[in-house]
């Protein structure tokens, strides 16, 4: 089995690829490898958003539960995707369930640790928002399209 350090994994990810060595060292200190069995939750709606996950292997379903009906999968995330954006935005609560659709391997970054480092190093905080926001924007744009229920009549 190939073993990758947290820093290697981060530096290979599009979100972190432009971060310098020093910054990656700082962030790696917040990270750890995690594994989830099929059908287990990475986090549930309303949970404290205490981690952000960089999915390395496997598939994750973002689900919304509604009373009286089965949970709906509104998005699927795959290797390379990030789950748990709520760590960046107060009140730091997860807004949906994230369930492992398969066995999942991920690097989790501790949200308190990340926020602490961003507070201590404002330049890092700025860089973080600058590189993460475009990804968030893309996802919001995609979900707007999803809301239109385009294929219902098209």
């Amino acid at each position: 089995m190939e073993i990758h350090g947290i820093k290697d994994i981060l530096s290979g990810h599009p979100v972190f690829k432009d971060f310098d060595e020093e910054t990656l060292d700082l962030l790696s200190g917040c990270g750890r490898n995690e594994h989830f069995k099929k059908n287990t939750l990475l986090y549930a709606e309303g949970d404290e958003a205490d981690k952000v996950y960089i999915i390395r292997k496997g598939d994750v379903a973002i689900e919304i539960a509604a009373p009286g009906r089965p949970s709906i999968v509104v998005e699927s995330l795959h290797a390379g995707d990030i789950a748990g954006w709520s760590w960046m935005v107060p009140p730091y609560r997860s807004s949906a369930d994230a369930r492992a659709m398969t066995e999942v391997s991920a690097v989790s970054l501790d949200a308190n640790c990340m926020r602490g480092k961003c507070d201590e190093h404002p330049a890092l905080g700025y860089q973080m928002f600058k590189t993460w926001l475009p990804h968030l924007t893309k996802r919001v744009r995609a979900q707007r399209l999803q809301l239109l229920d385009l294929y219902g009549t098209g």
Binding site: K138, R141, L145, Q146, D149, T153, G154
Partner: protein
């Protein structure tokens, strides 16, 4: 569009329904055989005017393989009076056909390039012929990919053929749905969320994309492709408007300076991209 080989383009020819497949609750595919003479050749992306006797005519894309013109295939969704009558037709029934009309997907011209088909919902129907054509000459293309989006797993058109294209025909197939119940193990999200993945490791300048689906989906998808570096003159979309005469006479399908029936339905993106975002037309 050249309709000179059609004796009287306003006169429907009689066809008989050979087979009908219920694709989805409100969608049926039928194969048609000509009664009044030999089958007419067609190109992928063109459409016919189908006439349900006593009800009316509707423009329906041809979904068959252009290499098999004797088997005219149309897929119809029941959304109005005419399409309801068409989806009710059964083997042995007759209908009128005018066409083929309109511009086609320039499949041959893309040889040597990565052929990317992007379909949304029923938009797979007008692309089906072009996909068959590209897969018949698979080795002439650097890559053949299909990105297919649908509302839910229950709304996937040509389900077994899509699986077959991925498994046996050398196409890189990705299916994604807008929402799903737990248990669906495929992708969930709109087609644009899969673009980077399907083009991963490819030379984006060497991609030719054919897009067909709801207009907003085509607009956003084309914009994202351009952002990824796909040349604007290597993206084509298939437009839909209220086609009536199919000859550019009546003006019902006028879209800016073009008539969709005559100058389209397949348009190159660099020629119409700006118009796609104009709400006035």
């Amino acid at each position: 569009m050249d309709v000179s080989n059609i004796q009287d383009p306003m006169l429907p020819r009689r066809y008989r329904v050979a087979e009908v497949w219920e694709e989805l609750d409100d969608v049926a595919t039928m194969s048609l055989l000509p009664i009044d003479g030999p089958p007419r050749p067609f190109k992928a992306g063109q459409f016919n005017m189908l006439y349900a006797y006593g009800v009316g005519e509707a423009a329906i894309s041809i979904s068959g393989d252009p290499a098999v013109p004797e088997r005219l295939i149309h897929t119809t969704r029941n959304v109005g009076k005419v399409s309801a009558a068409l989806t009710r037709l059964r083997a042995g029934d007759m209908l009128g056909v005018r066409g083929p009309f309109g511009s086609d997907w320039p499949v041959e011209e893309q040889k040597g390039r990565h052929m990317l088909f992007i379909a949304g919902g029923l938009g797979l129907a007008p692309l089906r012929g072009a996909i068959c054509q590209a897969l018949a000459d698979r080795l002439d293309y650097e890559e053949v990919s299909l990105l297919f989006g649908a509302r839910s797993p229950n709304d996937l058109l040509y389900r077994s053929q899509v699986a077959e294209w991925g498994a046996f025909s050398g196409a890189n197939v990705e299916v994604t749905v807008d929402t799903a119940a737990r248990g669906w193990t495929g992708h969930v999200g709109v087609v644009t969320t899969r673009l980077e993945r399907i083009l991963n490791g490819q030379d984006h300048a060497n991609v030719s994309a054919f897009i067909c689906g709801p207009e907003i989906m085509m607009r956003f998808t084309a914009q994202d492709l351009v952002e990824l570096g796909v040349p604007t003159d290597k993206i084509w979309v298939s437009m839909e408007r209220n086609m009536k005469c199919a000859l550019g006479f009546c003006g019902h399908c006028q879209w800016g300076p073009d008539f969709v029936c005559k100058d389209g339905p397949v348009f190159r993106y660099d020629q119409i991209g700006r118009r796609l975002a104009m709400r006035e037309i």
